[in-house]
C-alpha cells in the first residue's frame, strides 16, 4: 500500500498514513463508475475502435489499482489462527456481526472466507505474527486450506455483495428423519422450553401404503419416538396441563395387541410392528393413532382399493365392499378447461352438449326420430359388426403382443392405465451406487438478504437455498450425484454454482413428476 508519490526510503514505513492533503485528495476522488457503452461485435481493425478499447481498458486498470483509504479506527483487529483456521477478533466487531461470525468461549471469531471478504471491504485488518496481512497474503493464507477453495470464495463473495447472508454448511444442521418425526420446535437453547401441552407424535409415515420396506422401518421409528416422548410426558405430567383422561380408558396393550384398525386388512403394515407401541405405557388418549392407519390418498403411488372396514365397527347388518379410489384420484388436481370464445358461444356449446348427452354421442342416433328407427339402426349395426378384419396374425400370434386390442372400445383413462408400463421412480430411491461423492459437497447455506427479514444468527431458520460449488470445466452431475447431494441437504433446494474464472452461473436441478393429463 505504498503511496506512489513518496519515494523516499526513510518514509516508506509511514507511507500508509496519509498527510492531510493526500487524505483530502483520496476522499474527494470521483466516485463515478465507468459508463458501459455499446458493444462492438467484431474487430473492425480501425484505429478508433482500438483507441476506444484502449481507453476503457485504461479506465478499468485505474479503478482496480486504486488505493483504498480507511480510517484506522474503523478497522477491526483480528488474529489469524492457522491451527484452527479461524480469525479471532481482538476489538469488538462492527455491524457485520449481525450476519457473520460466531462465538467461541466468549471470543468473537470469523471464518476465513468471512475474514477475507471483510478485508476486501475494508472493515477488518488481520494480523499474523504481529504483521497485518495484505489482500494478496490473505488470499494465499486463507484459501490454501482444503476446506475453502478459490471458487468457493468467489461464490461466497458474489452472493455477499448482492446482500445474501451466506454461512457455512454443517451437515449436522440438517434434521434427520428421526428429528423430523419428533417435530420439535426449532429452538437452539434447550432446557428452557417446557412443553405446555403434551404433543402427540406426528404420524408422518404411518399412512403410506407402498409395499416397499421403507414404510415399515418408518413404522418402527414412529413407535420408538412415541414411546420416548411418552416417557418424557410422563415426567412432565404432574406439571403440565393435560387432556383429561377419559374414564373408561382401558389399557390398550391387552385387547389391541394387533392395533386398532379401521380396515380389517390391506393397508395395515405387518402386525409385528405394532407390538412395540402400545405396550410402552401407552398414550393417554382413547385412540391409539399409532396403530390406526389412515390411507394417504395424496401419495404419489396410487394405493390399491380400500379394503372394507372392520365389520365390528359397522352398525347392524351392513355389508360394505371394497372401495375403489381410482376414480377419485383421477379427479384430483384436474379442472375444467376453458374453451376459447365468448360467453354466448360457450352457452350455446353447453346447450348442444346437454342435448347431445341426452341422446348420446352417436350422431346417427341423434338423427333418428322414432324408436323403430333406432331399433333398425342397432339391428343393422349388430349385423355389420362382423368385423371385416380379424386380429392381424403377425402382431398377435408372435411372442410379444401389443398391449391393447383396438377392436375393443376402451375409455381413455383405462387405456392410459393399460399402457403405463414404464413407471416413474421416486426421488428418494437411489438409482445407482454413488462413486464420486467427494466432488459434490454442499458448501454454503444462503439466506435471504437480512434487510427485509429479521435474521438472528442464533436461529437463522431454513435457508433459502444451499450452494454446491463446481467448476465450469468440470463434469455435469449425474443423477446419482444429484440424489446424493439433495439427500444431504434435506428439504432445502440445492443450487449448483458454476464458476468460470470469476463468472458465476447458478443452476437448479429439481426433481419433478409430470402430472397425468386426462382428457374429459
Amino acid at each position: 500500500m505504498a503511496d506512489p508519490s513518496k519515494t523516499d526510503d526513510s518514509e516508506r514505513i509511514f507511507s500508509e498514513l496519509l498527510s492531510p492533503s493526500e487524505l483530502f485528495a483520496a476522499r474527494s476522488r470521483s466516485r463515478k463508475l465507468p459508463v458501459r457503452g455499446q458493444k462492438d461485435f467484431y474487430p473492425s481493425g480501425c484505429t478508433q475502435q482500438k483507441q476506444r478499447l484502449q481507453n476503457s481498458l485504461d479506465e478499468h486498470w485505474e479503478l482496480v489499482s486504486e488505493e483504498r483509504v480507511e480510517r484506522l479506527g474503523n478497522l477491526v483487529r483480528g488474529i489469524w489462527n492457522p491451527s484452527d483456521q479461524i480469525v479471532e477478533l481482538q476489538s469488538p466487531a462492527g455491524k457485520f456481526w449481525q450476519t457473520m461470525g460466531f462465538s467461541v468461549d466468549g471470543k468473537q471469531c470469523l471464518q476465513p472466507e468471512e475474514a477475507l471478504y471483510l478485508m476486501e471491504c475494508g472493515n477488518l485488518q488481520v494480523f499474523h505474527r504481529d504483521l497485518p496481512l495484505s489482500i494478496q497474503e490473505g488470499y494465499e493464507t486463507f484459501l490454501s486450506s482444503s476446506q475453502l477453495s478459490l471458487q468457493q470464495y468467489q461464490v461466497f463473495g458474489h452472493l455477499k455483495r448482492l446482500g445474501y447472508v451466506v454461512s457455512r454448511f454443517h451437515a449436522s444442521s440438517v434434521p434427520s428423519l428421526y428429528e423430523r418425526q419428533l417435530n420439535l420446535p426449532p429452538s437452539r437453547d434447550r432446557g428452557a422450553n417446557q412443553l405446555k401441552r403434551k404433543r402427540s407424535p406426528s404420524p408422518e409415515a404411518t399412512a403410506t401404503v407402498a409395499s416397499s420396506p421403507r414404510p415399515s422401518e418408518k413404522q418402527e421409528d414412529s413407535t420408538n419416538p412415541s414411546s420416548a416422548q411418552d416417557k418424557a410426558t410422563n415426567h412432565s405430567e404432574p406439571s403440565a396441563a393435560q387432556q383429561p383422561i377419559p374414564e373408561g380408558r382401558r389399557p390398550p396393550a391387552d385387547d389391541d395387541v394387533t392395533g386398532r384398525n379401521w380396515w380389517s386388512d390391506g393397508l395395515v403394515p405387518p402386525e409385528q410392528q405394532q407390538d412395540g407401541g402400545p405396550s410402552h405405557g401407552g398414550p393417554t388418549s382413547r385412540w391409539d393413532f399409532l396403530s390406526i392407519q389412515f390411507p394417504d390418498l395424496g401419495a404419489r403411488d396410487t394405493p390399491g382399493p380400500l379394503a372394507p372396514p372392520d365389520p365390528a365397527l359397522l352398525p347392524g347388518a351392513m355389508a360394505v365392499g371394497v372401495c375403489s379410489v381410482s376414480s377419485w384420484l383421477r379427479r384430483l388436481n384436474t379442472w375444467r378447461e376453458k374453451q376459447p370464445g365468448g360467453k354466448q358461444r360457450r352457452r350455446r356449446e353447453e346447450e348442444e352438449e346437454r342435448a347431445r348427452r341426452r341422446t348420446g354421442p352417436d350422431r346417427e342416433v341423434q338423427g333418428c326420430r322414432s324408436w323403430a328407427e333406432y331399433r333398425r339402426i342397432m339391428e343393422r349395426r349388430r349385423k355389420g359388426s362382423r368385423r371385416s378384419d380379424s386380429k392381424p396374425a403377425h402382431l398377435w400370434e408372435k411372442d410379444v403382443t401389443p398391449l391393447h386390442d383396438p377392436r375393443q372400445g376402451t375409455s381413455t383413462a383405462e387405456l392410459l392405465e393399460k399402457i403405463s408400463v414404464v413407471k416413474p421412480s421416486r426421488w428418494a430411491d437411489k438409482s445407482c451406487s454413488v462413486e464420486a461423492v467427494g466432488t459434490w459437497q454442499i458448501s454454503f447455506d444462503v439466506h435471504q438478504p437480512a434487510v427485509n427479514t429479521e435474521f438472528r444468527k442464533s436461529s437463522p431458520g431454513m435457508p433459502y437455498s444451499r450452494m454446491c460449488v463446481c467448476s465450469f470445466d468440470g463434469p455435469v452431475p449425474a443423477l446419482g450425484e444429484l440424489q446424493h447431494v439433495s439427500q444431504q441437504s434435506g428439504d432445502v433446494p440445492v443450487t449448483m454454482a458454476v464458476v468460470d474464472h470469476g463468472d458465476i452461473s447458478f443452476y437448479t436441478f429439481k426433481h419433478f413428476l409430470l402430472p397425468c393429463d386426462l382428457p374429459q
Binding site: L395, S411, Y464, G480
Partner: protein, 420 residues
C-alpha cells in the same frame, strides 16, 4: 430437494382445430362398431416409416398427432393450390402459369429418365398440355389413358383435406372422385372455344351429372391454369390459361418417427408395419429399430412414458432436445417442456454427454423460447442384461426420473420474485 413446480401450459392465441381424440383407437364399443378397420398400414422404406393411405393419414394425425406430412409443415395438408374452382361439378386447383410449366418440366424429366427419346417426349407433352373443354362428354379414351399416366402410381390427397383448409371457399362441398369419363381433347385446336378466356372455360356446368362409378386411379386430374393478363387470341396453347390435365402429381405421405411407429404397433396395436410387402412382428420391429437408431430403447421408453401420461411428445430437433411435450397437441398449446433423454446404466454410455458449456447453451435456448428444460433419466436395473434388451418386454423393467433444470439469477430484484 424440493420438487419443481408445475406451470400450466400456455394456450395458443387462436385455435383453428377441434380436439378429436387422444389416440386413434375407439373409445367405446359404439365407436368400435362404427369404424371399419382398426389396424392401419405403414411401410418401412429405407429406414423410414411411411403411411400412404390418405384415410389412414387423416386418422393418425387427427387423433393423437402422430407423424408429419412430408410435404407439409406438420399436418399433412399439402395441396397443389390454395384456391380452387369448380369445373364439371368438382373442384380443381388453380395454379399459376409458371407453376404449370414447372410441373410440365418435371414430367419431361420423368419421361426422359424412363428412356424415351426427345421426340416422343415432346409429342406427349404437347398432347398433355392441351386445354380441356367443359362441354365435351365423349367417352373416348383420351390422352388420359396413355401409358404415361397409367404407369404412375397415383394417390390423391384425400377429400377431407380440402375441408380443413381455411382458405378454400367451397368448404361445404364434397370433393368427389373424378368421373371416369375423361376430358377428351378438343376436336379442333383452332376452335374459338379454345381461345376463350379462362373464366368462360371454368364456368361451372351446373347440371352436369357425374357418373356413378367411382374414379379409378388412372383418371386424370385437372388444373386451372391462370393465363397472363395480356393474353392474345391465337397464341400458343401453353401460353393461354384454361383447364388442363395435371402433368405431374405429388402425393402427401405421413412420416412417422421410429418411436411413434413402435408405440402405435406395440402399445395401441393399431398399426402394422410392412417391409417389402411383408408384415413385421413386434420383436422384429424392435430389433430393426434398435439397429437403425442407437439408444432407441431409452428414447422409446421416454416416449412411451409421456404418451401414457397423456402428453404429446413431438420430435424436438428444432430446440436441441429429444422431444417437445405438448398438452393435448401442437395446435392447442405451446410446448411446455423440452425433454432430453439420458440413460442411467451400469455400462455407462451417455446418450448425450453434457458439459457445463453445452448445458448452459441448451438452457439458454430453452429459456429464450419460454420452455422448461427437462432431463428424463431412464434407469436400467443393474441386472438387466444386453440379451434381455433384445425383447421389448424389457420396457416393463425400466423406470423414469424427471429432473427440471433452471437457471437462477442471483441479482436481488430477481430474488424477490423468483422462487428457487
Amino acid at each position: 430437494m424440493t420438487e419443481a413446480a408445475f406451470l400450466a401450459p400456455r394456450r395458443r392465441a387462436t385455435v383453428y382445430e377441434a380436439y378429436e381424440a387422444p389416440f386413434p383407437v375407439p373409445r367405446s364399443d359404439a365407436e368400435a362398431m362404427r369404424c371399419r378397420e382398426s389396424v392401419y398400414r405403414a411401410d418401412l422404406v429405407n429406414q423410414q416409416v411411411l403411411v400412404r393411405d390418405p384415410a389412414h393419414i387423416e386418422l393418425l394425425y387427427g387423433q393423437g398427432y402422430f407423424g408429419k406430412g412430408i410435404l407439409s409443415r406438420a399436418r399433412p395438408d399439402y395441396s397443389l393450390s390454395d384456391r380452387w374452382q369448380e369445373f364439371e361439378g368438382r373442384q380443381i386447383p388453380v395454379i399459376s402459369k409458371a407453376r404449370y410449366e414447372q410441373l410440365l418440366s418435371w414430367r419431361r424429366d420423368y419421361l426422359l429418365s424412363k428412356g424415351m427419346d426427345e421426340e416422343a417426349v415432346n409429342q406427349i407433352l404437347v398432347r398433355l398440355s392441351e386445354p380441356i373443354e367443359p362441354a365435351a362428354e365423349s367417352e373416348e379414351a383420351g390422352l388420359a389413358q396413355t401409358e404415361d399416366s397409367s404407369q404412375k402410381k397415383r394417390k390423391r390427397s384425400s377429400s377431407t383435406d380440402e375441408q380443413r383448409r381455411k382458405y378454400c371457399p367451397y368448404q361445404d362441398r364434397q370433393h368427389t372422385d373424378p368421373a371416369p369419363r375423361t376430358g377428351s381433347s378438343p376436336v379442333d385446336d383452332s376452335s374459338p372455344v379454345a381461345d376463350s378466356s379462362p373464366v368462360a372455360d371454368s364456368s361451372p356446368v351446373a347440371d352436369s351429372v357425374l357418373d356413378s362409378a367411382p374414379g379409378t386411379d388412372s383418371a386424370p386430374e385437372y388444373v386451372l391454369v391462370e393465363g397472363d393478363s395480356d393474353e392474345e387470341e391465337g397464341g400458343s396453347e401453353v401460353n393461354q390459361g384454361g383447364v388442363r390435365r395435371l402433368p405431374f402429381s405429388t402425393t402427401e405421405v405421413l412420416q412417422l418417427t421410429l418411436e411413434e411407429a413402435f408405440f402405435l404397433v406395440y402399445a395401441l396395436g393399431c398399426l402394422s408395419v410392412h417391409h417389402n410387402q411383408k408384415p413385421l412382428s413386434i420383436s422384429e420391429l424392435w430389433g430393426r429399430f434398435r439397429g437403425v437408431q442407437p439408444g432407441f430403447e431409452s428414447s422409446y421408453a421416454a416416449y412411451h412414458y409421456y404418451r401414457s401420461r397423456a402428453w404429446v411428445p413431438k420430435p424436438g430437433a428444432k430446440y436441441g432436445a429429444h422431444f417437445m411435450l405438448y398438452r393435448k397437441g401442437p395446435p392447442f398449446y405451446h410446448a411446455s417442456y423440452s425433454v432430453v433423454v439420458e440413460q442411467v446404466r451400469s455400462s455407462g454410455a451417455s446418450l448425450r454427454p453434457f458439459t457445463w458449456r453445452s448445458l448452459a447453451a441448451l438452457s439458454r435456448i430453452t429459456a429464450n423460447v419460454s420452455k422448461e428444460l427437462m432431463m428424463c433419466y431412464i434407469i436400467y436395473p443393474a441386472d438387466l442384461s444386453e440379451a434381455e434388451l433384445t425383447s421389448p418386454l424389457s420396457l416393463h423393467r425400466l423406470t423414469v426420473q424427471e429432473v427440471v433444470i433452471k437457471r437462477w439469477i442471483s441479482s436481488r430484484e430477481r430474488a424477490e420474485l423468483d422462487d428457487i
